[in-house]
């Protein structure tokens, strides 16, 4: 894997994780959506898009999206998708150390399997199709 591919994968992983955390935080502040009628959804929609946390989440996803698109201009989707799953392992480890979340042994096994899988995929040639 070259440094260009490595840099963009890092950007994809960081900003997608940040975006998910911010959106989750923002939507929890808004509260549970229990009905899907247009009249009930409109106030929720307005509330959602007047939240600063939601907009920061959207901005993170925008950076993620541009990095992801550029990466896909040369790298296989079947390379990019599994390699970027390292983000789940990073989020789990950060949740453990920074947020003090409990991680069960079975989830630690999951983290290890993801790391092993990413190691295998990242050892393959990032591109298998010609222009």
């Amino acid at each position: 894997m070259n440094s260009k591919t490595y840099s963009l994968i890092s950007s994809v992983v960081f900003f997608s994780s940040l975006g998910n955390v911010l959106l989750s935080k923002g939507m929890k502040q808004i509260g549970e959506i229990t009905t899907f009628s247009p009249s009930a959804l409109l106030p929720i929609f307005i509330k959602t898009f007047s939240s600063g946390t939601i907009w920061m989440g959207v901005a993170s996803f925008l950076v993620f999206l541009v990095s992801y698109l550029l990466l896909l201009s040369w790298a296989d989707f079947s390379f990019v998708q599994p390699v970027c799953s390292i983000g789940y392992a990073v989020v789990a480890v950060l949740s453990y150390f920074l947020l003090g979340e409990a991680i069960s042994p079975i989830r630690w096994v999951g983290v290890l399997l993801i790391c092993a899988g990413v190691a295998l995929v990242s050892g393959t040639e990032p591109r298998t199709v010609a222009d």
């Binding site: 201009s73 079947s78 989830r107 999951g110 399997l113 899988g117 190691a119 298998t128």
Partner: protein, 124 residues
Amino acid sequence: MSVRIAVFIAIVVITGTAGDISVSHAMKRIGEVTSFRPAVVLPMLARAFRHFSMWLGIGLMAVAFFSLLALLSWADASLVVPATALSYVAGAFGAKFILGEKIAPVRWAGVVLVCAGVALLSFS
């Protein structure tokens, strides 16, 4: 896991994967981006947006995104985010049969490990 959560996860996975495959198809059409300067990147992205598969992919991703937003309002991100990664197997098959990518045995093994790992991560 409730039926409602399972249904929403299925919608997020299927539309999200199809969107990724479609967008990947559009980006391959424009060719490799070799510089990250905005003067280079922006015109290339603009060219990508002239492909139908880019818009199809964005439409599918939008469905996945708003389904995910709704889902995150009542379900824990620590369950939803790992579960939506069931798309790894779907993504690899889509890449092989739609995009024509050659998936070596080592890559398949990696995809299976990642998929299993993500599934285990969704247990509490």
